[in-house]
């Protein structure tokens, strides 16, 4: 769905439709289809980048509303997914910056993660899926912003290293290099968050 959208979105009908009609009308628009196709990716990025479901909900709404307003500026040079990610990344960074301005915050030095004990190529094993989200969030929260964003973008199958590089303003080779360190750091932090450190399987993380 990389072709620019038509302008047939958000038109007011002469008579006020019922809520059901309005919902059906909206669902049939191309913008609603854009939302249906990409909302999970954008919400997930916001959720794990911001680490707060309520903020992620607001951010996803705001990102798509910005996209709605700016749809005429979409030139089709990138995919819709990449275009939406760009808006989302800028939005999340602005939110985070506003938060940082109000709080004293320091990220660990990258060297800490470069020297992380866990091997980047070790399998990540989990026993309890229900606590998986919390463990992932803790590990991501402790990562430098750059690594966190990189992992979240690379995890999207629809993005190439080139697209991730464009979104993070670096070359694909730099993406690959940093990805290795990001994986290593994540694995170390994920292991640290294991609630059953003496469990036989967790030793292999």
């Amino acid at each position: 769905m990389n072709e620019p959208l038509a302008e047939s979105v958000g038109r007011d009908s002469p008579s006020a439709p019922s809520p059901d009609q309005a919902q059906a009308e909206w669902a049939s628009t191309e913008f609603a289809q854009l939302y249906a196709e990409h909302s999970r990716a954008i919400f997930y990025l916001a959720l794990r980048f911001l680490g707060d479901p309520a903020k992620a909900e607001d951010a996803t709404h705001d990102v798509f509303l910005k996209a709605f307003r700016k749809m005429d500026q979409f030139r089709g040079e990138a995919s819709w997914r990449t275009w939406l990610y760009r808006i989302a990344i800028n939005h999340c960074r602005n939110l985070q910056q506003a938060w940082h301005d109000r709080h004293i915050f320091s990220n660990a030095d990258e060297a800490v993660w470069d020297n992380a004990v866990a091997r980047a190529d070790s399998p990540l094993r989990v026993l309890e899926i229900k606590e998986l989200g919390e463990r992932i969030q803790k590990a991501l929260d402790a990562l430098p912003d750059e690594y966190r964003l990189l992992l979240l973008l690379v995890a999207d199958d629809e993005l190439s290293y080139e697209e991730v590089g464009t979104l993070t303003e670096q070359s694909p080779d730099a993406v690959r290099g940093k990805l290795h360190r990001a994986r290593k750091a994540f694995a170390a932090l994920f292991q640290k968050s294991d609630p059953t450190p003496n469990h036989e399987t967790s030793k292999q993380i």
Binding site: P4, L5, E7, S8, V9, G10, R11, D12, A22, Q23, W26, F31, A32, Y35, S39, R40, A41, F43, Y44, L47, R48, P53, E57, T60, H61, F64, L65, F68, R69, K70, M71, D72, Q73, F74, R75, G76, D121, P123, L124, R125, V126, L127, E128, I129, L132, G133, I136, L151, L152, V154, A155, D156, D157, A182, R183, F186, A187, F190, E200, T201
Partner: protein, 72 residues
């Protein structure tokens, strides 16, 4: 997405443990784990509802520049 479910027989020391039947999932990379996590996340339906209301208050997006230029 590659992820494996493994049943670990070494964990079946007691009946209680047996009843739990814990499943071990293995992910080769962090991205694989995140992909699985993303697939488990539900997008709150409230977002679409809010978006519909918000966008209804705005004029519809204008034609893309290339459509205005070429009259498509």
């Amino acid at each position: 997405m590659k992820h494996q479910s493994k049943f670990n027989p070494e964990q079946q020391h007691t009946a209680a443990q047996q009843s739990r039947q814990q499943t071990t999932r293995e992910f080769t990379t962090a991205e694989e784990l995140l992909r699985y996590d993303a697939s488990e996340v539900t997008v709150p339906p409230a977002i679409a509802q809010r978006l519909r209301q918000s966008s209804a208050d705005l004029p519809g997006p204008s034609k893309p520049w290339w459509r205005r230029l070429f009259g498509r």
